[in-house]
Amino acid sequence: MSIRRDVLAIAFVAISALLPLVLQTIGQRQVYWLFVVSELFIFAVVAISLDLLMGRSGQISLGHSGFFAVGAYTAAILNEHYRVDVVLSMLAGGLLSALASLIVGFPATRLRGHYLGIVTLGYGIAVDQIALKWDALTGGDQGIHLHRPTFFGVPIGSPVAMYYISLAVLVVVIILTWNLLRTRIGRSFAAIRDSEVAAAAMGVPIARTKVLAFVCSAFLAGLAGALYAFLAGFVAPEDFGIDQTLLFFAMVVIGGMGSIAGAIGGTILVDGLRVAASTVSGLSLAILGGVIVLVVLFAPSGLKGLLRARARSG
């Protein structure tokens, strides 16, 4: 809407688009760094999906790793048995995840705050346990290896191709989410978050809108999960535990809820920190936890609030 936002968006995309070239020029640095940044893009999609649910419709989810996992397993299983390509797998992953979200989405219409948080936490744990148990389909803890992904029949296994697909998916998701938020459904999400009574008085069906928010959010998270399966080339239950959910949660809150840019900023901060700390043997958990505490203490309304405060003072 504003010029600043346009500039920010174009700068983000331009830098992202040029990154592979830069990495190529400074020496063969693509495989690892493109993997890490692709992963970040995919997590950003999850963060946006979680923000759609928490920041906009005001419903807590501590089970987003569960939605992510359903998408990832859908893609892996379709790829394993039917060699389905990336785009169809993502759609299938998103749809199945959306369908699965109804399990928690319906009770969610009757639950509030921490009740919902803990029920969704349980959902994430259950997806994990079932994936481990149902090994005929999921490979149990040995997971599923994906075959080289194809994009409408064209093989696209290279890190560069996966990187651009991840970037494209992120950009498309940003545009779709932004459109959704500035039209009728997006406004009704915010309305039920701000005041259920007033929203109902405006004709917004509370229960249906809450479920819809869950479904939309789960769709995006599932889509991200499916893409992640192709990126990592491997899907196993250990990757979808509580730790992962907490990271997603921290990304959204640290970024500042109710803002797409905030969700992306939070992802860059938290995931960047995770990547940086992952090579510091044994200290990563303490560093990550410590920084989250500090950020919350000094920027309680998130990065978004921090930037806004700076804009106001200067």
């Binding site: 639950l111 990550l288 989250i292």
Partner: protein, 292 residues
């Protein structure tokens, strides 16, 4: 068969008392500050390391080690409230919850760095072995767990009913603004609530240590069950948390024995989903009416 079922139930009650104690702490904290403390298990675990060090290095008797852990846990609660959460009291509740998530990672990480992740043994030296009563094995630790649960929950109930500070705690739950006007020292009451809440988690962790051993992750599963117990009990009701914990302990044991131990947590959450669909405020919860 009956004996078998009874034995399962008894062990379930003992384990359930750990869920109940942890849940009780969660509820006390929630009632005062409306924050769900995700670091509850980690804080209790940290206190358990104190008991462990006292027992193994200083070789003190168990009651003194337990007291050490209780004091540590209480202090952790007070410090976290005054030094951390108190500073962002105006931030949205979700932000405060994220702070406890960060603390959860931080505490586990720090203790992992200092003590490593090898399970450290901690037995409660009782000097008496299991007793056979009518074919049932009664373990002294079961008795202690249940006894401490009863003593602490009755003590808490008395505190809330009769003392001024306890009433203050209830008052700020009802209406923070009014409580301030009434001259209730909110900061002090909140600190006390956090102290007591974390202390209960600490007691649970010390009691869990003989079975789980002392590790930074010792409370991870127990705290998830404690969340379930608190929710079953209506998250807010002390009696609810106690009953929720005990019932859950028995249910989990029956699932382990008769259904599928490897899916226990999934089955528990499935049941929780059904229960909440029928009774959205838990078994003991009150529906709060929104005023227009």
């Amino acid at each position: 068969m009956i004996q078998y079922v009874l034995q399962l139930a008894l062990a379930g009650l003992a384990q359930g008392s750990l869920y109940a104690l942890t849940a009780l702490g969660l509820v006390v904290i929630y009632n005062a500050s409306t924050v769900v403390n995700f670091a509850q298990g980690a804080m209790g675990m940290a206190a358990t390391y104190v008991a462990y060090l006292l027992l193994t290095n200083a070789q003190v008797p168990f009651p003194i080690a337990l007291l050490g852990a209780i004091l540590t846990a209480f202090l952790i609660g007070v410090v976290v409230q005054t030094a951390l959460l108190g500073r962002i009291a105006d931030a949205p509740i979700l932000t405060q919850v994220v702070l406890t998530l960060g603390l959860f990672m931080f505490i586990e990480g720090i203790l992992g760095i200092f003590f490593g992740y090898n399970p450290r043994p901690m037995a409660i030296p009782l000097g008496i072995g299991p007793v056979l009563i009518g074919g049932l094995v009664l373990r002294p630790q079961d008795v202690i767990e249940l006894a401490l649960l009863i003593v602490l929950s009755v003590g808490l109930a008395t505190l809330f009913r009769t003392t001024k500070i306890g009433l203050g705690m209830r008052a700020i739950t009802e209406n923070m603004y009014a409580a301030r006007l009434m001259g209730i020292p909110i900061g002090r009451v909140l600190s006390l609530a956090w102290g007591i809440g974390v202390m209960l988690g600490g007691v649970a962790a010390v009691l869990a240590a003989p079975t789980t051993s002392v590790t930074p992750n010792m409370m991870d599963t127990i705290v998830v069950y404690a969340f379930v117990a608190a929710i079953l009990g209506g998250f807010g009701s002390l009696l609810g948390a106690v009953v929720g914990g005990l019932v859950l302990g028995v249910i989990v044991n029956f699932i382990d024995a008769f259904l599928a131990p490897e899916l226990a947590m999934s089955i528990v959450f499935g049941m929780l989903l059904v229960i909440l669909y029928v009774k959205p405020d838990g078994l003991f919860g009150r529906r709060t009416v929104e005023k227009v």
